[in-house]
């Protein structure tokens, strides 16, 4: 019995998609959890299975959920090996894998105008700044500096990061419930400052790839600003254009 649909601004599958995102943002299902089956969700939202399926298609394409045939639909976690390099596009020319992390510092300060604007904070709101190096084959190749609103990452210290073996995004997810969903990056070539040169073991003025990233959690909320300096002598930033 096809019910006559009332006029609505967004299609039903889009409304359902947004409801699921809202539920994820509210923590109804955490990373690693299975979502209810598509049939159960169809019941919950009063839609047909095909419509819920369409919503899940969109969410799977955005990597907001992950399907496993026969098992169910799950909330992806940055702890999974597959997610390891989802936001780090720097690959070795010879396809070597993996980095080792070296924490340089973690301190609390007031948001600069730039950080405040990017993260949607009031100026001089408390912010946590993290600096670190990534090494490949014993050589530093990435110098990362990143800023987080303290109110979302209360208790983040050098200690906490040192104890955590995985990626930062995996830590943010398990410890602070902040799951990164997508990011925007601006790339430039810049000359190494004396400080960056020393840390990356290159000469001052050496060309470095500057990667400025704004990362978003559910609902397009910006939660991290990051500035990376990549030494691209035997590594490159890989991109795919469609």
């Amino acid at each position: 019995m096809p019910p006559s649909k009332p006029r609505s601004p967004a299609p039903l599958y889009e409304q359902i998609r947004q409801l699921i995102v809202a539920a994820l943002a509210a923590g109804e299902w955490r990373p690693g959890d299975a979502l209810p089956s598509e049939a159960a969700l169809a019941q919950r939202f009063g839609a047909s299975p095909g419509t819920v399926r369409r919503a899940m298609d969109e969410l799977a394409a955005e990597h907001i959920v992950e399907r496993r045939q026969g098992s169910g639909t799950f909330v992806p976690t940055h702890a999974a090996p597959r997610q390891q390099f989802r936001f780090l596009r720097l690959v070795a020319d010879d396809e070597a894998e993996g980095f080792t992390r070296e924490l340089l510092g973690c301190r609390r300060l007031r948001a600069s105008a730039e950080v405040a604007r990017a993260l949607g904070l009031r100026t001089s709101e408390p912010v946590i700044e993290v600096r670190r190096l990534l090494h490949r084959r014993g050589r530093p190749v990435v110098l990362d500096e990143l800023w987080l609103a303290e109110r979302h990452f209360e208790g983040l210290t050098a200690e906490v990061m040192a104890r955590h073996p995985g990626t930062l995004y995996a830590l943010f997810e398990t410890r602070f419930g902040v799951h990164m969903v997508r990011a925007e990056e601006k790339l430039r070539a810049v000359a190494a400052t004396p400080e960056a040169a020393q840390l990356l073991q290159v000469s001052p003025g050496e060309p470095l790839l500057s990667v400025e990233r704004l990362a978003f959690t559910y609902g397009d909320r910006p939660v991290e600003l990051r500035r990376g300096l990549y030494y691209t002598s035997s590594d490159h930033y890989r991109n795919e254009l469609n």
Copy 2:
């Protein structure tokens, strides 16, 4: 004792997708043309409309076809304004738009080992090399060098390019029937060589963003190798991570 599982053939919608790509590669529909309606295609392939629709969903997501509600489904063309910057991710910090093109040279030579490998040619097969500059606000910001197999671009000369007002990819499409579908890029920061420095009006050694692109036409056939040097002082390469 488990019975040997026969290899499952690709799903019907995937087979249909490939048949449509093959028809596009064969030139059955040219850029700007409308494809047959989904109902007509369903008839042609002996599938239900929903299955054909699924195939078109995939093709639309890859930008291999473009849907216009109420009008039909079309082959996109690089001549359309929307496609103008599909493969050029360099944007001005102040969002200014547009470039002016300056052709530096176009000559015929034999494929280097690197070009041959990238384009799948025999070494020393004839290749066309194009060099040009892109200017923004009267200032050079991109130095492009690109290589094409001559057998796919016979008759491409400086004259032909000078007469054509649009982008290179629009020219390739209308004049040579080669439509670019996707590309892979490798980015690095490099120091300007004396020659590049002079052309881009910067000091030798200045950091430049090196963008090496391999562009593909239908069926993942590589047809263009390109090396761009971007001056990223008041422009940046924009990327989106999902």
